[in-house]
């Protein structure tokens, strides 16, 4: 057992790096949720129907292009860092498809072509009852 190795690190850290319940400085914080995300009002949709999609956590004014196998659309981020929802048609064939959002310009400092993806499950159209 080499637990002392771990404790050795702790000892070296001593006062300045002491144990704390309330530790982690602002500089240490690595907040979650920083990359761009792409969201939809539905992640399961009937073949040929439409869904609404949106990009979030985008630099204000940045243009984003959305692509799905069936087509593409685009939107621009507001001051809140969110694009307005845009409508996209899902493919005619059942399956799982990748919805992709890509920033088209240098939207975040030093970041070009930031990408976010989500899975869209397309279900078959319900069969129509045939009348006699």
């Amino acid at each position: 057992m080499k637990i002392n190795k771990l404790l050795g690190f702790a000892a070296v850290a001593s006062l300045a790096l002491a144990s704390t319940v309330a530790l982690s400085t602002a500089a240490q914080a690595y907040p979650t949720g920083q990359p761009m995300t792409v969201t939809a009002n539905k992640y399961t949709a009937v073949a040929g129907s439409d869904i609404k999609v949106q990009a979030n956590r985008v630099y204000p004014g940045c243009k984003v292009t959305f692509t799905l196998k069936s087509g593409s659309a685009s939107g621009t981020a507001s001051n809140l860092g969110v694009t307005k929802p845009v409508t996209m048609y899902v493919p005619d064939k059942a399956g799982t498809y990748e919805l992709k959002a890509v920033t088209k310009t240098n939207c975040k400092p030093g970041v070009v072509g930031e990408t976010a993806t989500a899975s869209i499950v397309v279900t078959a159209k319900p069969k129509k009852e045939k009348g006699r």
């Binding site: 702790a10 144990s19 319940v21 309330a22 920083q34 995300t37 939809a40």
Partner: protein
């Protein structure tokens, strides 16, 4: 002849009435003595110590048994239909039998406490062989009995009582409410600690101390750790450190967290402060275990706790004064989440305070001189939404944690189980001011999910409040590391990823925030769809986030999967109010 018969009947009636009078007077005396006992225990202004508790148990037991024999006497059954008096007799019967059941279920628990106390009341250096009495499951049985009794007493209409029973029922109700809160609070602590302490093997446990002021899926950011050694009931602090010490070990081995979840919350999976974004505690614990194992550091398991549990440990060991700061179980959680940042702007001084505190706390725990009364008082106060959980390397112990509901597992089982968690996306300590009330309701049946399963509508209504003040908070508490360059910082504003774990195979109906449509990211954790809402909040404001979905009532084979609705609250610094509602079970219908 006829006259003799009448005289005989009258005589018998007199005897019967005398018998009834005697028995009722016994009942009245027992009830009065019992009420006096309970009132005296409250009026003393302090929680009973162990001796008081045993005395109370013995005297209450005697009185309750006397009273129970009266109300269960078949000869007295007709009394319940007598006008005016009958309702009092029925109420007394309900009260006595309810309390008897509670007392009976509490007896093995009190015996366990007495045994634990007598065994640990030796020199701290002495080895002790503690028993694993499965106390947590007995506490769970007692909680059921208490809830049943509360419901029975709730059903009594006090307005119909005429003989002074109403205040006694009120007193019993108040005591049962208090008992329920205390038991629910303490059960997880017992469930984690009893099997560990009763294990006679030498063990090393990693205590992951979360800072609930910066939310993560399992509760809070991993701010510090302690390494505790346990050997034959002897507990010692082998050492403690901060997240910065963990950084010195290198990056986290993130493989225990599925890749899709590493992406869902947008964290950095190999970062110590982002590793616990999922609510599933075993992911978090296994990442710690595997990272340490790669450094040839062996541990037997991980105990995960936050400020609320720390407060309970302080309650069990007593308050302390460090650098002029007097802390006890009532203020330690708040001090560690808020006050410490006001007192110490210098991180080194702050860390030194906490290091002293941790060392004192564990030194006291290792002395095994416990304040049971203080612990019980603290447990009944319900000051936090914290929950302790644990993961063990041993499959047997892990099964036990799972069975006792302290494994922090997200179950893959179908049924009406929803869960909420928070992740702080601002890199601040403002979740100390985050409040939540949530209601999970099951609605209309006979609706299809988008995946073609027969189901019903469901709604999760969340009122989320940011109670941070607009000014006066230390800089350390209020940063917004997520803001883009040029974006204005509103002091006290926050950004929270609110995650909703919907029942297995549920599909989205629609979501709203303050009445307007919103979208959420979607991922899957243990078959549950997880919807992550990116919520920006301003100080002093509340937000109504409503998630509507369709959840299946059958599985793919058509088998009924309905269960009673259950909503699992996030582990949080502040208490979370949750409730569930259902109009009933959906009738069996054929899946189309």
């Amino acid at each position: 002849m006829k006259r003799k018969a009448i005289i005989a009947v009258c005589a018998l009636l007199l005897v019967y009435l005398a018998y009834c009078s005697f028995k009722v007077s016994v009942l009245a005396n027992s009830a009065a003595a019992l009420a006096a006992n309970l009132t005296a225990a409250s009026a003393s202004g302090k929680s009973p110590n162990l001796e008081d508790l045993l005395e109370l148990q013995a005297s209450a037991g005697t009185k309750l048994r006397e009273a129970a024999s009266v109300v269960s006497d078949p000869w007295l059954a007709p009394l319940s239909v007598i006008p005016v008096f009958g309702k009092d007799f029925s109420a007394a019967k309900t009260l006595v039998l309810s309390l008897s059941d509670v007392l009976e279920k509490s007896e093995p628990i009190i015996a366990s406490i007495v045994e634990f106390s007598s065994k640990t009341n030796q020199k701290p250096s002495d080895a002790v062989s503690l028993s694993d009495n499965q106390t947590a499951s007995k506490v769970a049985d007692l909680i059921v009995a208490v809830d049943k009794s509360r419901n029975s007493l709730q059903a009594i209409d006090s307005r119909n009582l005429n003989f002074g029973l109403a205040p006694k029922i009120q007193l019993a109700k108040a005591k049962l409410d208090q008992l329920s809160v205390g038991l629910v609070t303490l059960r997880p602590l017992i469930a984690v600690l009893e099997p560990i302490l009763a294990n006679q093997d030498k063990q090393t446990w990693f205590v992951a101390t979360q800072n609930l002021a910066e939310a993560r899926g399992t509760g809070g950011i991993l701010g510090s750790f302690a390494v505790v050694k346990i050997d034959s009931g002897r507990l010692s602090l082998a050492g403690a450190g901060s997240d910065q010490d963990l950084d010195r070990l290198g990056r986290v081995d993130p493989r225990a967290l599925p890749k899709n979840l590493q992406v869902l919350w947008g964290g950095t999976p190999d970062e110590w402060r982002d590793m616990n974004v999922s609510s599933h505690v075993p992911y978090f614990a296994k990442q710690i275990y595997e990272t340490l194992a790669a450094k040839e550091i062996a541990i037997d398991g991980v105990i995960v706790l936050g400020q609320g549990t720390v407060a309970k440990l302080v309650a069990a060991t007593g308050g302390m004064n460090i650098d002029g700061v007097q802390v006890d179980s009532r203020n330690i959680g708040d001090f560690l989440a808020k006050g410490i940042y006001e007192k110490y702007e210098d991180v080194g001084a702050k860390n030194a305070w906490v290091k002293t505190f941790m060392n004192k706390l564990f030194a006291r725990l290792s002395k095994r001189d416990f304040d049971y009364a203080g612990l019980w008082r603290s447990a009944t106060e319900e000051l936090s939404g914290d929950r302790i959980s644990a993961w063990a390397k041993s499959d047997q112990l892990q099964s036990r944690f799972l069975q006792d509901g302290v494994a922090g597992e997200v179950s893959s089982q179908p049924g009406s189980v929803a869960q909420i968690s928070f992740n702080n996306a601002g890199g601040n300590k403002l979740d100390a001011y985050l409040k939540l009330e949530a209601k999970y309701s099951l609605g209309k049946c006979g609706v299809m999910t988008d995946l073609g399963l027969l189901g019903r509508r469901a709604k999760l209504d969340m009122l989320i409040s940011n109670d941070a003040p607009k000014r006066g908070l230390p800089k350390y508490v209020t940063p917004r590391a997520d803001l883009f360059p040029g974006q204005k910082l509103i002091l006290g504003s926050n950004r929270t990823l609110v995650s909703v774990y919907a029942p297995v195979d549920s599909t989205i109906d629609f979501f709203t925030l303050n009445g307007k449509t919103v979208f959420a990211s979607q991922g899957f954790d243990h078959k549950h769809p997880v919807w992550v809402f990116d919520l920006s909040t301003k100080p002093g404001r509340s937000y109504r986030l409503i998630a509507n979905w369709v959840e299946p009532t059958v599985d793919a084979s058509g088998k009924n999967t309905q269960t009673a609705p259950r909503l699992i609250a996030p582990v949080a610094l502040n208490p979370v109010k949750t409730s569930v509602y259902t109009a009933g079970v959906c009738a069996a219908q054929k899946n189309n």
